[in-house]
């Protein structure tokens, strides 16, 4: 009976991911889109848990739900939302686009299922210690570069949104 838990949880999460992501693209109300995006992130974190990557799942929730979604909600609140949402959808090109998507998706599908699962080399324990060991060992230099990138992004964002002193408020 416990054999079936993993596929069932996977199926629920898969429906959550695909459904919520499709709704992000299709839905008109942008605040709902932002929340559905957060839901997609949570489902992806659930998939990480299913794969046994606990630490990555927690980082995913911490960064995507706790920080990025809130930032995007800020963006939503500071900009006006007008209802001219779509450019291409449901126009003449839609059937053509469907054909193109099918042409791309088919090889991807075949390619995806051509991978054979390796026998479980991983112990099903936590991934925190191996992750930290390789992050601060082999990948220490990229890690430092990433921190510089974050610093640059922070300074850049502050410079971009800062108002000049003499500029009057709109």
């Amino acid at each position: 009976m416990f054999d079936l838990i993993e596929p069932i949880v996977f199926a629920i999460l898969a429906v959550g991911i695909v459904g919520a992501a499709a709704a992000v693209v299709l839905i008109d109300r942008i605040t709902s889109a932002a929340l559905l995006m957060a839901f997609t992130f949570l489902c992806v974190a659930g998939m990480f848990l299913l794969l046994g990557a606990e630490a990555v799942a927690l980082f995913q929730v911490l960064i995507y739900v706790g920080a990025i979604t809130v930032l995007i909600l800020y963006g939503v609140m500071f900009t006006p939302q007008r209802h001219r949402a779509y450019a291409l959808f449901f126009q003449k090109q839609t059937p053509l686009a469907g054909v193109v998507v099918a042409l791309i998706a088919l090889p991807v599908l075949v390619f995806s299922f051509s991978f054979k699962d390796a026998p479980d080399l991983q112990p099903r324990g936590g991934d925190l210690i191996p992750l930290a060991t390789s992050l601060f060992g082999d990948y220490a230099f990229p890690f430092e570069v990433a921190s510089v990138l974050l610093l640059a992004a922070m300074v850049g964002a502050i410079v971009l949104v800062r108002r000049d002193e003499d500029e009057e408020l709109p």
């Binding site: 898969a14 963006g75 949402a85 995806s112 991978f115 992050l135 990433a146």
Partner: protein
């Protein structure tokens, strides 16, 4: 029973293509940012799936996921800053209407 690697990859690619469709069809800059995040997440899912199921001895895939997190955070911060400053120059967040290179 383990879920096969292929199933994770299918979900990952579906998420990626949904993100692509969003970037191509939606015109609101904030929604485009959201769809880019979805695409990055699809990549993360594929990386973790490979790392856990394809017999990688160490955590290379997961390490790259951590880097993707960093990039995503930086991208959202700078992207939103650009959207807000563009909005301040001309009151629109519609990417079709932001064409002029000179404010």
């Amino acid at each position: 029973m383990h879920v096969p690697l292929g199933a994770y990859l299918v979900i990952s690619s579906a998420l990626f293509f949904i993100g692509v469709a969003g970037v191509l069809t939606r015109r609101n800059a904030v929604v485009i940012l959201m769809c880019v995040e979805l695409m990055l997440n699809a990549a993360n899912l594929a990386l973790v799936a490979f790392s856990r199921r394809f017999g990688a001895i160490d955590q290379r895939g997961s390490v790259f996921v951590v880097f993707v997190f960093v990039i995503a955070a930086a991208e959202v911060a700078v992207g939103l800053a650009i959207v807000l400053s563009a909005y301040r120059n001309r009151p629109t967040v519609d990417v079709d209407e932001v064409r002029a290179l000179k404010g």
